[in-house]
Symmetry: C2
Subunit: 290 residues, 2 copies
């Protein structure tokens, strides 16, 4: 097991216990929405965004286990879960399974999936407020909004079953996926009181690693097995989704992913020994199987 694997597992244990304490219990009225919030949050995510918050925090001199970084990490995981729940809805990607489990609207109802997604988003802002940092809230809100994740989702949905160019697929991936990954890293850096120069390197690392993450995801969708993916292989293509391999082919996609990871590790090198983990996480993103 390499450093990234160990770190992700360590962060996952920590974040899961914090989410366990933060989220309202399933027995709290109205029980259905609280049950859904927990069902989707604990559906087996690898907690990559919290790990990036904490790794960037450490790279900028923060201590592992810092309460505010953990809180921000938990909030970012909830924002991510909110986006998955709404993304899976029948009027969006219409997915029945995620990570091998029925999606929220299949396990509960469509109405509850809409409201449960809303609730995770709003609760994540409530948790972020505990950091006392409105700059952090603005940063993450921008990454989530129409100039970030939601903008990417709109263009993704509107590009279905249409021929698209490289510029459009880059826009979709940069916004739909990379924006929140970059914001996770910047949030960690900001909580460690990073200098402008440190923040600039963290941002450049985030741009590269965020885009690589989605390009690798697209490649996996083409080449992975159903068992690895927790969903049917090739399901994005079957749905007419815009993917990197569909636009530029598999070999060019792999080449681009490798380039992006090289760029990310070069940025991580700025932080010297404290940036080792960021380098390992970038390599993990290149090598991951699901």
């Amino acid at each position: 097991m390499n450093n990234a694997d160990t770190y992700l597992k360590k962060v996952a244990v920590l974040i899961d216990s914090v989410l366990e304490n933060l989220l309202p219990s399933e027995t709290v009225y109205p029980t259905s929405i609280h049950t859904l919030m927990r069902y989707s949050t604990f559906a087996g995510g690898k907690r990559v965004r919290p790990a990036l918050v904490m790794a960037a925090h450490e790279a900028c001199g923060g201590k592992f286990g810092d309460e505010m970084a953990i809180l921000a990490g938990a909030a970012l995981e909830m924002f991510h879960t909110f986006s998955l729940i709404h993304d899976d809805l029948p009027c969006m990607d219409d997915d029945d399974f995620r990570r091998g489990k029925p999606t929220a609207h299949r396990a509960f109802t469509e109405a509850l999936a809409v409201l449960g997604g809303d609730a995770l988003c709003i609760f994540a802002f409530e948790c972020l407020a505990k950091t006392g940092r409105t700059d952090l809230i603005a940063e993450i809100a921008q990454a989530l909004g129409t100039h970030g994740m939601l903008g990417g989702q709109v263009v993704d949905i509107e590009s279905e079953n249409k021929p698209i160019d490289r510029q459009t697929i880059e826009y979709i991936h940069k916004n739909k996926t990379a924006a929140l990954i970059r914001a996770s890293l910047r949030a960690g850096a900001m909580l460690a009181q990073a200098s402008d120069e440190e923040l600039a390197h963290i941002s450049a690392y985030g741009n590269a690693v965020g885009l690589a993450f989605q390009v690798v995801d697209d490649i996996l969708d083409e080449e992975g097995t159903t068992e690895q993916l927790g969903k049917d292989a090739g399901s994005d293509r079957a749905k007419g989704k815009a993917t990197f391999p569909a636009v530029v082919g598999i070999p060019e996609s792999k080449k681009y992913a490798a380039e992006l990871i090289t760029r990310a590790t070069a940025e991580a090198a700025y932080f010297g020994k404290r940036g080792e983990l960021l380098k390992d996480l970038a390599n993990f993103i290149r090598d991951r199987v699901s």
Copy 2:
């Protein structure tokens, strides 16, 4: 025209011009979601929540036109619009018209209505962050979440076509409607650096006026004309929605609304001359026709 009418019109002009400047232009990519956000935001709301923010701000010694109070008012209107867009979705109340215009998912698509609602919610938090007040963000997030508005929506949806008791309808109305109205008032008071005693009176006023608002809405749904309502009269009842008149009858509903308004005006009296506007707004809520 009484004080409340004049004030609401004055606030609406101000808030509309602020929302006009805040919201991304319809020409900004991706244009569809920005067009939807503006379509729903400028669909003819009376801007009651911003007026309550500003009236509470003035009651606690704030000045009319204070930049932060206006910003909070604009954010609260966007949160309200987000809730209406998601509430109208086919999987929720399945409404085709609101204020006489096609609902967002009818004028655009269902996917865009989900994402556009999300975007207004997230953008409203981004605007709130500009106040620099995380206490305000926490206050409003709590009012919107599962112990507030969303909790009310869940129980509302789950109570459709079921016999419900007075306790349940009170829960729905207190959470679905009153929680955000109360938070609007508290936000205004907090921005005016209200004392604990002032905040307690504003909260009590908000509890009464928020609940009255929804009880009056239910009565109007039964007694108003289609022209007054911008939707079919009796449409809530036709859909098997839980309403106050359905549970306790029209006479008891009117009696209860009057009691709540009396309670609200008593709380407004605490603020003396500065609370006149709150009293007038409470009477407006009792007397409004749509």
